[in-house]
Symmetry: C2
Subunit: 156 residues, 2 copies
DNA sequence: GACATATAGATGCATCTGCATCAAGATTGA
DNA sequence: TCAATCTTGATGCAGATGCATCTATATGTC
């Protein structure tokens, strides 16, 4: 396979081309469209925002033991102080508990409550229906595979 | 081409599958990663946030005449009150002017100032370099075409 | 052990956002 | 023409977020 000069030059240029800008613009718009559909569906059904679901789900994943905030932080797209305050709110609503951490007196262990599990379970049908509308109704299985793969390249 | 029963069933199921959920998660993460890289680059260079650039660019597109807020609103991903206050800030910084609208006394025409044009021009190198790092360094031209096309299906 | 440094998590303050609503002017329709 | 309704844009208030910093504990080094 030959690589022509203009291809090399094209790939070396500093200015992002039209295609790049279109990807960028659509990435913002597609994310915005999908997320706002989902958030709206949750709100309309009287549920808390997506971030609450994410926290609860993440807490359910991590066994009975609970998880440390700094661990949660890596899975959720939140800064430290954002998570701290999100946990405040979810705790105040009774869906999780913060317990002192045996190993590390600075830290804490966050544990989901029974009510938290129930809430997460109740949210899922609404959430999944919204995902269907926002994503899977719009793309074939193969397209989803491809899109997931390409988006993966933009992460990290 | 034959369509097997299990394919039909798969495509009809209500629950989003693994693939859908992966696309969804990656869409959020990829957007977050790309946008925060860009915002950080702007901030580090002492520039205002991306939304300011978007407004200024949009104002430059629309000729000398300026644009009405409700027109801008359609191009920028902001709610009406968000735009109203963003315009307050940009105006206060001297990069745009709000003028009364001749045709419609309720409305106004937003016009970019000379300083606004200058600012937009000065931001571009930083913005485009960040875009290169966040997007075009990570995907070939063909991949960008495909990604743009697929993201387009999630919009509207 | 004692000190310097690093890490976990919270918080005061300023800013930004979302929601509901408002005021003022435009449009419609009897 | 005049009331009802719609559209444009602003804003008060509550809540969320970003930033810087703080406290407390842990860890590493001598």
């Amino acid at each position: 396979m030959q690589m022509h000069l203009y291809v090399i030059v094209r790939s070396m240029k500093k200015e992002p081309g039209e295609t790049t800008i279109r990807v960028w613009a659509r990435l913002l718009r597609a994310q915005h469209a999908a997320q706002s559909q989902v958030e709206k569906a949750l709100k309309d059904a009287g549920f808390p925002p997506l971030s609450w679901y994410d926290v609860l789900l993440e807490l359910e994943r991590g066994d009975q033991a609970g998880q440390r905030p700094f661990e949660l932080e890596r899975h959720l797209l939140l800064p430290q102080y954002g998570l701290s305050r999100l946990l405040d709110r979810i705790e105040a609503a009774g869906y999780l508990e913060r317990r002192p951490c045996a190993d590390d007196a600075r830290g804490q262990v966050v544990v989901i409550t029974r009510a938290g599990r129930q809430l997460r379970r109740k949210i899922w049908p609404t959430y999944s229906a919204a995902l269907k509308t926002a994503v899977s109704d719009r793309l074939s299985g193969k397209e989803q595979e491809t899109l997931g793969m390409l988006l993966g390249k933009l992460i990290n």
